[in-house]
Symmetry: C2
């Protein structure tokens, strides 16, 4: 009577969500202060003050029927205009408001875009390990084959030789995520220029473009150089964005898909995005949040606390003997499991009420993801546990 596939997906929750739920119940048992939950990317920085102020102003000033009414499926015109203008200002983007599609966050952006792209069960979507595990769920949910490039364990870049081999006539898209969840790596211009050349060459050989899907919820959370604007390097790039991290609104589900002018058959792809949103039951993105985005689109998060957390945790862990590449963006440390057994280590950590996620689900066994988007004091109090854990 039910879909076994969906039953499996629903009964085997993602490892991250599982830990998140465990953390909530542990907090009830031993007190929230005694649980060191580094499992989820739930921003610890409040939204910029203007977000709350805008919400209050809208609630006080707009007629509620207008404020909470349906918007166009693609989003409010003023919101799409604001998003396009922001991309133009920040990156010199060539993008029109009628190629912006507001979504219920990055997960929705990806699920919708993949659904718009995939027309045969042989179609493939490629990702580079380590990758956000739900990519597989969204790709397979859209009917695609999901294939993964092995990780570059030196700097978490892209192994272009592996990519060269992995591309087949059925490759529809490559998804990139920079800054990366879970590694915190930020892709550099030389890598991306070489990647663009490879994709152009392959697209020409195949006779149809391989779409680059840039999943950029961490775009503004960088501690050094930002990721170059990808459509400028490779025109067949679609942006999937979320305000979850930059405006600290993860539970409100607001983001967008942007199909820049350079995308071949971009109007057709955009129409397919609209169709996919419809088929998946997305009527419109939450209206109040769309208006907040229109007003707050230019705000940048004050990421100093994240940087301080990174420095504190990275410094302490490497001092204890953990091995880790210094993350240049996002708010995750991707650490080698001391004995190579990431699942075992995470279980041991759980017994100390330290919740971290094994790298296996990210396509990178033997690693651990530690989300440091928490209060600094929580990191400080967790350090002795991390020290005990590596000493066995």
């Amino acid at each position: 009577m039910i879909s076994e596939k969906m039953y499996e997906l629903g009964s085997r929750r993602s490892a991250i969500r599982e830990l998140f739920e465990y953390g909530k119940s542990a907090a009830e048992r031993v007190g929230a202060d005694n649980v060191f939950d580094f499992s989820l990317g739930n921003p610890s920085l409040p939204p910029p003050r203007e977000v709350t102020e805008t919400a209050m102003r809208l609630l006080e000033s707009l007629p509620p029927c207008e404020l909470h009414g349906y918007t166009s499926a693609q989003g409010l015109p003023e919101t799409r205009q604001a998003v396009a203008d922001c991309l133009i200002r920040r990156y010199g983007a060539s993008i029109r408001p009628d190629r912006i599609y507001m979504t219920c966050g990055a997960a929705a952006s990806l699920a919708i875009l993949f659904r718009a792209l995939i027309s045969s069960p042989d179609d493939e979507i490629l990702a580079v390990a380590p990758y956000f595990p739900e990519y597989k769920v969204f790709a397979e949910g859209a009917g695609a084959r999901f294939r993964v490039l092995p990780p570059d364990l030196v700097g978490f870049g892209i192994d272009l030789d592996a990519l060269e081999t992995a591309i087949t006539p059925r490759t529809r898209a490559l998804i990139l995520n920079s800054p990366n969840n879970p590694s915190g790596a930020v892709l550099k211009r030389p890598t991306l220029t070489a990647l663009a050349a490879l994709l152009k060459r392959k697209s020409e050989a195949l006779g149809s473009p391989i779409l680059l899907v840039s999943d950029e919820p961490y775009r503004e959370i960088v501690y050094g150089e930002a990721t170059p604007y990808l459509p400028a390097l490779y025109p067949d790039t679609v942006l999937c964005y979320s305000y979850s991290k930059s405006l600290s609104l993860p539970g409100e589900r607001i983001g967008y898909i942007a199909v820049p002018d350079g995308v071949r058959e971009g109007d057709r792809l955009y129409a397919a995005v609209c169709g996919a949103g419809r088929a998946l039951g997305y009527v419109c993105a939450p209206a109040l949040m769309q208006r907040i985005v229109a007003a707050c689109v230019d705000l940048l998060p004050d990421i100093r606390p994240y940087r301080e957390n990174r420095d504190l945790l990275y410094g302490a862990l490497t001092r204890y003997g953990y091995e880790c590449v210094l993350p240049e963006g996002a708010f995750y440390l991707f650490v080698k499991a001391p004995d190579g057994d990431s699942e075992g280590f995470c279980e041991k950590a759980k017994r100390e009420n330290v919740l971290i996620v094994p790298g296996d689900g990210f396509g990178c066994a033997g690693y651990l993801r530690i989300s440091y988007c928490v209060g600094r004091e929580r990191i400080e109090r967790s350090l002795t546990a991390f020290e005990r854990l590596i000493r066995g």
Copy 2:
């Protein structure tokens, strides 16, 4: 490079959405006051005062990271508890909070539930004409065959003989919508008792339950008797609900799926719902709205203005010679096209800036849907146009 199916869905927008967009541009041309937009079910009553008050209170009092943070995928525990309690209080329901799944509105509820149910392209979902056109999109989007029972043009009930014939071994679900969009009909207990008996008999013969999917966004918008609580008559019933109409929050996308205790293999179905939500990219329902629902779950809309609109419009149109069944719920009049040509009539009406939707898309050619969830004054000023239109 793209899915042709999704392209078609996206480039041929629903007739309703198309008119909605036309209305917006017409308003810019001739002024909003001169457009009589009866196309969309966008509530004209503001949300109850408590909705805005709760939003303000939450924004002022809760730490914003907590307020806007991710919730569990199924929804906040307090929201699910409040929803279950409300169903128990109002209907004596047998339902647990851990069988409530908060969604981004009724469209999401249906898209997710269908996806959870369907495991083969031969699986069928049945609807009764007239039906909300997006049912077809959601059912086919989930990979099912969508089949429609012919309308009962006398009272817009259910033709049980037709249903008897239409059920096949591949029938997974029957979707009901009472009060009905577009007819405004409310299903009566004797019809539903007979329906339940038929479905039980058929389910037994097939050896697997036919699920009744009750799509009830208009549940509280009734001018006489409400629809009986369906799970009490037929235990294999799942509720799909939205607060779009009852709390006038259509753009905010908040609703739920409820799998009552009596549903066979209910826990497995609920898990599949969680899996389908994940596959479709629904991370959680908007967090602020979930908290508003927890606080406002018991509020009932003051539907007097809708009733007055109904009486005014029904009275005038029938006086002019239009034929129409008096709607007992929702906020639509479903009117016979005077010359039987609904599309032609709607085009003529459009030239008078009167926007109404042909019944064809609802599986009921020769009818017109008029949404009367607008200001009374707008109806009053539109009446001469309706009179002109029937006189030719």
